[in-house]
Symmetry: C2
């Protein structure tokens, strides 16, 4: 478990200790809720297999998607802000995950310097990514944003030793749109454009990246 989610900075000893604090082998069906918005933050969650989305609602009731969580990634970090979760986390497909109770985590942070650093690193990375994404959102056109999204997915899957070029897109067009700040029509059209250019091959929920370099190059305008 520690190997799955927090590999970098933990010593073998630390991993073992953390391992014992983790509740393993939990499951959720597609569409089920992992975290309820407004709930007290009492744990962090690590995806083992499947995927989930974090989403919030804007003041006008419109939903937006903050992040997707792939295997090995952590959900629930935003809860540190106020001690309660500010967004829903929902399984996109059958999900298996681990749960780390926050109390135990705080306890362990007392004694494990590597864990402290790792938690700060995780939060820092999320922050970094959110800020970069925000910048791209306004400076890059729809097609390039979508390309960037696919490349990002691909890289994250690769890190988990899953195929980087050939994957099932368990995220709906609608959720992609709400994540990239587009409409689902625009997502559809942009996918079409990438397909026509033969950068990618899409059939329904199945995607293949034919020219990842070309996709990545789009980001640089």
């Amino acid at each position: 478990m520690a190997r799955i989610c927090l590999p970098a900075n933990l010593s073998a000893q630390e991993k073992r200790v953390l391992d014992r604090a983790v509740e393993r082998r939990r499951e959720l069906r597609a569409g089920a809720r992992l975290i309820r918005a407004g709930a007290r933050m009492d744990a962090l969650y690590v995806v083992r297999s499947g995927s989930a989305k974090s989403c919030g609602v804007l003041s006008d009731g419109e939903e937006y998607v903050r992040a997707f969580h792939l295997p090995g990634e952590v959900a629930g970090l935003e809860g540190f802000a106020e001690g309660r979760h500010s967004c829903e986390v929902v399984a996109l497909e059958p999900l298996s995950y681990c749960r780390i109770p926050i109390g135990r985590l705080e306890l362990l942070m007392e004694t494990l310097p590597g864990l402290r650093r790792e938690m700060l690193r995780l939060l820092g990375r999320s922050l970094e990514e959110a800020q970069r994404a925000r910048a791209e959102m306004s400076m890059i056109d729809a097609r390039a944003r979508l390309a960037g999204f696919l490349v990002d997915l691909s890289r994250r899957l690769e890190r988990r030793n899953l195929s980087a070029t050939h994957f099932r897109l368990s995220i709906s067009r609608r959720d992609i749109a709400r994540h990239l700040g587009l409409t689902l029509e625009t997502v559809s059209r942009s996918l079409g454009a990438l397909r026509r250019a033969s950068w990618i091959c899409v059939r329904a929920r199945h995607v293949e990246l034919l020219r990842p370099e070309a996709l990545a190059a789009l980001m640089a305008r």
Copy 2:
């Protein structure tokens, strides 16, 4: 110092200890750089007076503004991601600030549980804010985004007991634009629209919020 930046969760004792770790009374002239992108993260910075911006460059060389730092706020948190800073932090006007060496901070986190929680809270908040901002960026029109920005500034100034309705806008239109994902022309036009509606009064760098409720209401569409 601890009172300025980390007021919430620290005991008097903890504040005293943290206080001793802080290097105080540093100054910078307008336009000078507080943090250089790419530099090893060796400290966090807390603004005492004046203001600063964090900005990065996109792959095509275009600059974007990640955040503004007002008195009492912390700059440099993104450095936790990789142990080095990913963006420049630049003074927008004469700046006075404190510096907290990262080594000492990590040391203190070992013994001060309140400080641990506070650091996580700071990062969580930044994350939260970045994600919300990103959502608004695509779902809300330019005028409302600008209104939201002004209201946000106002609230942050208020927290530091500065006037919430009447302040000097030390941020250029260009930086506002780059922060909100707009062009400076659009910022100018939107300010004009708000002025014509008599929600605000702008003269050069000086702003007065005449109807904050109306501005805030714009956000809810």
